[in-house]
């Protein structure tokens, strides 16, 4: 079964540069958690906690590593599943591989638009645009810098033009 496909909507995928950015973040995160969960193993190997069960000492970091690897393997597909579509009166955002969702934010309901970038994102030239309405937030991660700048301008303009209030 394909992604949620609304009739006549063409989604623009996010920047491909988001993939390496997410991979780097993912690797760092995985290493960190594997390191934390390896503490019992280190204690066992150094003899401080010799009585610890083998299966637990090896299994904990092992499971964490496996989880991290699966996560990393899915990143490219997850990023490619993301996309946005500017329609006449609203903007759509699609995301999710297993749990798919499409969100719609009418321009007239925008309260403000945030553009953020983390240190890793900055290296790869991608940004996160957050659209805020009175109801909920919409986070669009992985837009190229030029694109997010353009979106911010355009969205604010359209928001002004179509202001709808609460």
């Amino acid at each position: 079964m394909r992604a949620m496909e609304l009739e006549g909507v063409e989604f623009t995928p996010v920047s491909e540069r988001e993939i390496p950015a997410q991979l780097v973040t993912g690797v760092v995160g995985t290493l960190f958690f594997v390191g934390v969960t390896a503490v019992p193993l280190i204690l066992k190997l150094t003899g401080v906690w010799a009585g610890l069960w083998d299966w637990f000492a090896w299994g904990l970091p092992g499971a964490m590593l496996l989880w991290g690897l699966i996560d990393l393997a899915l990143i490219p597909r997850q990023v490619r599943a993301r996309g946005y579509a500017e329609r006449e009166d609203d903007i759509l955002w699609r995301e999710g591989l297993m749990f798919r969702s499409v969100k719609a934010v009418p321009y007239g309901r925008l309260q403000y638009v945030d553009v953020e970038e983390g240190p890793i994102q900055r290296r790869f030239g991608v940004q996160t645009v957050t659209l805020k309405t009175a109801g909920a937030d919409l986070e669009m991660t992985g837009l190229s810098k030029a694109e997010s700048e353009r979106l911010r301008e355009v969205l604010m303009q359209r928001g002004q033009a179509r202001l709808a209030g609460l």
Partner: protein, 633 residues
Amino acid sequence: MPTPQDDDRRDLPGPQPQGQDLPADDAPATDTERPTDAADASVTDTGRPTDAEGWTRMHPLTPWVKSWTFLAVMLFIVGREFVEEWVDSVFGAGRRGGDSGSGGSGPDSIMDFLPAIGIATGVILLLGVVFFLSWWFRRFRLTGTEVQLREGWLFRKNRQMRYDRLQAVDLQHPLIPRLFGLAAVKVEAADGGDTALELSFLKKDRAEQVRREILDHASGVADYRAEQAQPADGLPAEGASAPGPLPDDDTAPAASGSPDTVAPAGQPMLRDRDEGVLMLKVPPGRLVGSVMLSDSGPLATLIGFAGFLGAAGLFVGLMPEAWLGDGETRWSIIGLGAAGFAVPLLFAIVTSTWSGLNKGWGFTVRHSRDGLKLRYGLTETNSQTVPPGRVQGVTIRQSLFWRPLGWYQVRVQVAGYGTGVDSERSLVLPVGPWEDVLRVLTIVSPEPGVAEGEAAELSPAELMHVAMHGDLTDGGFTHIPHRARAWFTWFTWRRTGFLTTSRLLLVRGGRFARRLEVAEHERIQDLRIDAGPVQRRLRVADVTVHLAGGKQVTVKAQDRAAAEKLFQHESQIAAVARRLKDRDQWMTPEELKRFERQLQPAGAGAAAPAPAAQAPGRVPSVEAGPTPTTETP
């Protein structure tokens, strides 16, 4: 001491010179002679103690009342020490005489207290000074466009709120301030759960007056009055001289459809025109019953507890003999377990029952030109005003045990009241029969408008009834497809569904406890459609719409085509709904005139139109009540 935080307006007319000596004089007085002080203040307070620029201070008792818990604890500790010492010195003199050289003679023991008295006086003085300063620097004013509040002495804060951003205005009388005749005015903006601006505390009358003023500014009545000031025979003047149009609230209950609530029908008294028309009252008996029978009430809890006890008893009864310890029998284990759970359970029941009763006590709903006026509370009385056009969504519920009694509960979503259906102030009808629900709906919910298909012939009242009680495709609803029932919707698939009319999105759900959520298309802020892996296999999807203030309405597991159609439809409407743009003021002069006209016959006949609509069918049509404000061009 103007700090860097001090803002552009630093016009404090002369607090500094007085600030030096006044606290010392004033502070002890505030404490020791509270009653007289209060009386004094009331004299100045009702007479608008405003300065040249319109700034008004709160009531001088405010800091004392606000920190009453702290003061009470202090008083308790100090008092206990004092009493103990005294008891010791009187009765224990002989016993302790040996320790101290100076024995236990009378004058000496009073001397012993001196340091304590000194400390106490010092603390009171200090508190007095601090409280005086906090009172002195806290002031508010109402300008033509906004409410302004300033507070702080070292760190200053200055807050403004424009009237057109106002979502609701509430008047609160918490227990302790109430004893002193004080009240707080809470002004809500669409910023989630926090109160945007709290004016506390003011004398009751003054608070009422301030609220009135704020509402007049916000609704546009004040502007209108200003315009009308020149032709003396304008509408407001007429209203002021002859406040007849509004019926007294004791005559109006006839409209509430519950005969047991009708108060002795006296002569219609002339009342403040703000009171509005009484729509309904919740009688104490019904309230008690509803609290007892609610889904989280004592009955439900006890049934759940009995079920749990039964299961646990079964387990203990069947478990092998070997698990029993020394001196234990099966019965002793069960007894111990039951007792262990019973105590916290009892505590939970008592607190939840109390809070339910306390909040719902004396619940009355009035309809006035300011929208819906609610009044309720036992120890803390609240009076809420929800302006029309500020209600984002409505939820009707019926607990399982309420079904035989035909009771319902109605909540509204208002952006200023914060998230969650359980946010206490969202309750506009704690319990009432279906007629009461309809009566409330006439005010808080717009006409459903034209429905498609089956529902097209239904009147609004019938549509609501079917929406609440029906299942499957009753009333033209779309429900969860049969194939998807295995995915956590075994019991609810027949009921979980939605219907769109030209103005509303109706979402029903709940098999045992019924639920109906109503959202106006044009109030939808944003929306989403989701499908997980299993849902995709079943070709279903969830659609969630978000309303201002964080409320979500989810239509679960609908057929994918239907869900996508709904998503497209709603996103289109949400996007192009621009009508509300200019509705910052909800009373245009024309509307005000129309509203007063509508109230005229209602007041003249004391109980003319509403009961008439009431009598024949027991099902009043939704148009029965006056709905001046929900209709927009």
